[in-house]
């Protein structure tokens, strides 16, 4: 294999893969944020905490009930989603008539509570979660070694992202959703139960975060701060992508993951800030974001 600017291809491709995996998490999380923002107009600051909760629920299912990875992949998002619905019904629904910023503040408070509770009971050291047997090992592609689980994470996130995009942009349910974002009163007048739809949308968006958490559990150690580090980056992704489109959230997520991976190869010190630098540049040139509609 050729060498690119003095970087061995294994290193380059390894970091690209790592970037793609991080990008998968960015995409799923910013997709959830975009879905919630679309209908509730709330930036769900608790998204990172709920992603962490997803990972913890998967861990707890295994540790306390002996339920393995595959059922957890369904169960954990469901549990997190139901929890989200409870939050929406009891708290968020009281804020819709207020300034949107109160939603941000409320979910910030929720994030503190959720994180604080997990920290109290599980400490900050992190708990291991085994890669399921089916996906352990990997393939030697000749030019690089590809762990199966990582390939699975990328595949699963692509499928989920595409499925969500398809549901929102191409189905009747999605049409109702999009209509309700534009004019909830009118859609309600057509006999659509808008509050129910809002509730389920929040549940779904939060379940996406929980799903990402389960995917992340075997890669990163399960710990209470895992969401806190990620959520700020995801916010930056959202600002760069522009919240206008579902597709924008997904594509920007993958793209920035890869950019971050590449930066780690060529300028390691910059990898932690490159996304924020890109955000600054995008704000200067196109304040509404790459895929956003002009305001």
């Amino acid at each position: 294999m050729f060498e690119l600017l003095g970087i061995p291809p294994q290193v380059l491709l390894g970091q690209l893969l790592l970037g793609l995996i991080n990008g998968s998490f960015y995409a799923v999380l910013s997709l959830g944020l975009a879905v919630i923002f679309g209908l509730l107009n709330i930036i769900n600051f608790a998204h990172g905490a709920l992603y962490m909760a997803g990972a913890f629920v998967a861990w707890m299912l295994l540790a306390y009930l002996g339920i393995g990875y595959w059922p957890a992949l369904i169960l954990a998002p469901l549990i997190v989603g139901v929890f989200g619905i409870v939050l929406e019904r009891t708290m968020l629904s009281r804020l819709y008539h207020l300034d949107h910023l109160y939603g941000l503040l409320l979910t910030f408070g929720l994030a503190l509570i959720i994180q604080g509770l997990f920290r109290n009971y599980y400490g900050i050291s992190g708990l291991p979660y085994q890669i399921p047997d089916l996906l352990s090992g990997g393939h030697n592609l000749g030019f690089m070694f590809l762990p199966n689980y990582r390939a699975w994470v990328v595949a699963a996130s692509v499928v989920v992202c595409f499925g969500t995009w398809f549901m929102i942009e191409k189905t009747r349910l999605g049409a109702y959703l999009r209509a309700a974002t534009e004019n909830p009163v009118l859609v309600g007048a057509f006999g659509v139960n808008v509050p129910l739809m809002i509730m389920l949308t929040y549940g779904f968006g939060v379940a996406l975060a929980g799903f990402a958490g389960v995917l992340a559990a075997p890669i990163y150690s399960v710990n209470p701060t895992m969401g806190e580090q990620l959520i700020i980056v995801v916010f930056a992704v959202v600002v760069i992508g522009g919240m206008g489109s579902i597709m924008g959230a997904i594509l920007t997520g993958y793209m920035l993951g890869i950019v971050e991976g590449l930066t780690r190869v060529f300028y390691p010190e910059g990898s932690a800030v490159v996304i924020f630098v890109i955000m600054a540049i995008v704000l200067m040139i196109k304040p509404e974001g790459l895929f956003g509609r002009p305001v």
Partner: protein
């Protein structure tokens, strides 16, 4: 951003301070002068630094209607610069604080000029993301000491004359800085500039149609707020002789929002009360570990759900006077 209810405030006068406010400021000053003889001075200084920080933040949120979720960047950033100035450059305390404040002002100007391109929630996210950039710089730059921060910062001699090593001497320096800072913020709010801010907060399109360069006002208030937050952070670095990552971390940005919300956003004395309560709580509940985070979260949630006016906001409503 403030509830419409609390805005019955008929403070059109931009001239002199109302009697009630004069009395409160005077009582506050007297209380603060005798306080260090009854309370541990370091604790009292910490409260004052956070009171100024919250007041500076409130200038932006309560009076400018802009929710910055990254004010830790200016608070913590200034504390690093001030600590560096005092320790490495050997500057006197007042010059270190000025250095920190100036750095925070420049940072605020740069970040502000980008952030005001987005509105509402986006604005909050953009400020947060930029603050995270500052956090990474503080974590990785050479002069910041990484995880350890800048430790054992010398307190130095005020104007090169008065040694501040003594806690009581330092206390009165901190008192002078924070009290003047809060009076300055009061002055800004009640100036014609402050009235324009209020107009922009209430109805931005109308302010634009009246011919105000709204973005310029927003940028100025952002820079002012960042600078004053920087004064608070730089002073805190002197008090604790330490600049650390805690002060630039985003949870600090959340904390200052909490102080302001709890005390009452858009009120003069709310942030001071909020800062007092939160710092006291953290001090006395420190042994409970992460429960402090949970309690803060609960206060946040309850504050947003049923107590949006904050303590001072409610008081002001009862008294029917702006506080």
């Amino acid at each position: 951003m403030a509830d419409k209810k609390t805005d019955t405030d008929p403070m059109a006068q931009t001239e002199s301070m109302p009697m009630l406010h004069r009395v409160i400021f005077a009582v506050l000053l007297i209380a603060l002068i005798i306080l260090p003889f009854y309370v541990y001075p370091i604790f009292a200084m910490k409260v004052m630094c956070f009171a100024l920080f919250a007041a500076a933040f409130n200038l932006l949120l309560g009076f400018g209607g802009l929710l910055s979720f990254g004010h830790a960047a200016y608070f913590g950033g200034a504390s690093y610069i001030a600590a560096h100035a005092a320790k490495v450059w050997g500057l006197t305390p007042e010059l270190s604080v000025l250095c920190g404040a100036a750095a925070a002002g420049v940072l605020g100007f740069v970040i502000g000029s980008l952030a005001i391109r987005r509105q509402g929630i986006y604005f909050a996210m953009v400020t947060l993301a930029f603050a995270q950039m500052v956090y990474f710089v503080a974590l990785q730059a050479d002069f910041t000491g990484g995880e350890d921060g800048i430790q054992s910062v010398p307190r130095g001699d005020l104007f090169g004359l008065i040694p501040l090593a003594d806690n009581i001497a330092l206390y009165f320096f901190v008192l002078a800085v924070t009290f003047c800072g809060i009076l300055l913020l009061y002055r800004i709010v009640h100036s014609p500039f402050g009235q324009v801010l209020k107009a922009i907060r209430e109805n931005e399109p109308r302010a634009i149609s009246l011919g105000y360069d709204v973005n310029r006002y927003k940028l100025i208030v952002f820079t002012l707020s960042a600078t004053m937050a920087g004064v608070a952070g730089a002073t805190k670095a002197q008090v604790f002789q330490l600049a650390s990552l805690t002060d630039v971390h985003w949870s600090m940005s959340g904390e200052v929002v909490l102080m302001t919300l709890l005390g009452g956003m858009g009120t003069i004395f709310g942030p001071l009360v909020g800062a007092g309560i939160i710092v006291t709580m953290q001090n006395y509940l420190a042994t409970f570990g992460a429960w402090v985070t949970v309690i803060q979260g609960v206060i946040f949630v309850l504050g947003v759900l049923m107590f949006r006016e904050g303590i001072v906001g409610v008081l002001a409503r009862w008294l029917k006077r702006p506080l």
